[in-house]
Amino acid sequence: MSPKQRIDQQPAFILHSYPWRETSLIVEAFSRDHGRVALVAKGARRPLSALRGVLMAFQPLQLDWSGGGEVKTLIRAEWQGGQPLLTGRALLCGYYLNELLVRLSAREDAHPALYRAYATALAALARGLPIAPLLRRFELAMLRELGYGVGLEVDAESGEAVDPAGRYVYIIEKGPVSAPDYAGELPTLTGRSLLDMAADTFERPETLTQSRNLLRALINHYLHGHELQSRRVLKELQEL
């Protein structure tokens, strides 16, 4: 990016924001064509700031910003609307999606397809659709868009097509390997579940459970031991 570049009317969502100096905010935004960007919203914490109510996570926005450094200057933010605020469990899951993007996507890497997957997932959360399938769909789309190859249709050892009737163990960074009798720690899936995932179909209970285990293992692997706070909060809530 050249030092004075200005971006106008860029579709974006706020992932996270934190106070900066007396009256400003730094927002981590996820934009359609420029990926994740850090923006300083000057004066956004003043009581009468027009930005105050607009810079809300999970709502479609249009942002203008300028600057060439790591942190750019937000010039304008416009609320696009059309989507109810997230509530309840859907809201907590929204935080999970945001944390995934903050942790796993690199700044200023454009991922328009991932942006679409994120917007679709949020819209589904806002409409109260079943949560598990939309989370799995997003997790898989995210890993693939970020370039972590997630092989699902070919046995990584034999090179043969995955057999719906077969049983597989998933070896991370490699793929599914036929292992009818495996009973260890690694995620195991039926061929049918793998093919469901490949077809983006998360309907069967078995596919949901097995894909959840696999995607969790993959995400944990790529997080390099970093604990997701949003996941911890959800877990604590269940324990209280």
């Binding site: 607009v54 997230l86 911890r232 909060v233």
Partner: protein, 197 residues
């Protein structure tokens, strides 16, 4: 090089939220140069507050006694418990003169990405307070931000599991507010949450 005592003061002032090195320096020079009496008052007030103030056993707000005056008052309806994020929110609700129940001040809000969850907010203390056998309804008056909403949801789940009724402040167009001058987010949500007449 600055004398180390001055350095220490500037460094200490930086513990205030939103105060960077520049502002801290400005504050230090102001206190020492222009307002030594104010500085003395600040120092002793801070010292006294640290010794004297603690959290009320019942509402978690700051008080000098074990239980604050409001919580000890017999004029208050002890079957109602209103949960707010900060003492300033409590003050706003008191100003309405529309509420005569008791309060619980969270001193924060759930914010998963900042690592603030039920444990950090000590929600177990609120649960113990709300299940004292006297409280019949808990009014969740956390902010209408995502964090305030997440906090309200979390608390209501925990209360419902214990058979305590939870309600939430309703939201919408401000009283005396004209649609033309109301932000679109508020109008949109008021539409989504419209009620039958």
């Amino acid at each position: 090089m600055l004398p180390s005592t001055l350095d220490e003061l500037i460094e200490a002032l930086r513990c205030l939220p939103g105060v960077g090195p520049k502002s801290a320096q400005r504050m230090a020079y102001h206190l020492l140069q222009r307002d030594q009496r104010g500085a003395g008052r600040l120092a002793s007030a801070l010292q006294k507050a640290l010794v004297v103030l603690r959290h009320c056993e019942r509402c978690n707000a700051f008080t000098e006694s074990q239980v604050c005056q409001r919580c000890a008052s017999s004029q208050r309806d002890a079957s109602l418990l209103c949960v707010v994020e900060m003492p300033a929110d409590l003050a706003m609700i008191e100003q309405t003169h529309a509420y005569d129940g008791l309060y619980y001040v969270l001193m924060g809000r759930i914010s998963p990405l900042d690592g603030i969850g039920p444990r950090e907010l000590k929600l177990d203390r609120l649960l113990a307070r709300a299940t004292d056998g006297v409280v019949r309804e808990v009014i969740l008056a956390t902010n209408f931000t995502n964090e305030g909403e997440a906090t309200a949801h979390t608390i209501s789940e925990l209360l419902n599991a214990r058979g305590i009724r939870a309600s939430r402040l309703s939201r919408g167009v401000p009283v005396g507010g004209e649609l033309e001058h109301t932000d679109s987010g508020t109008i949109a949500q008021a539409l989504f949450e419209r009620r039958a007449l």
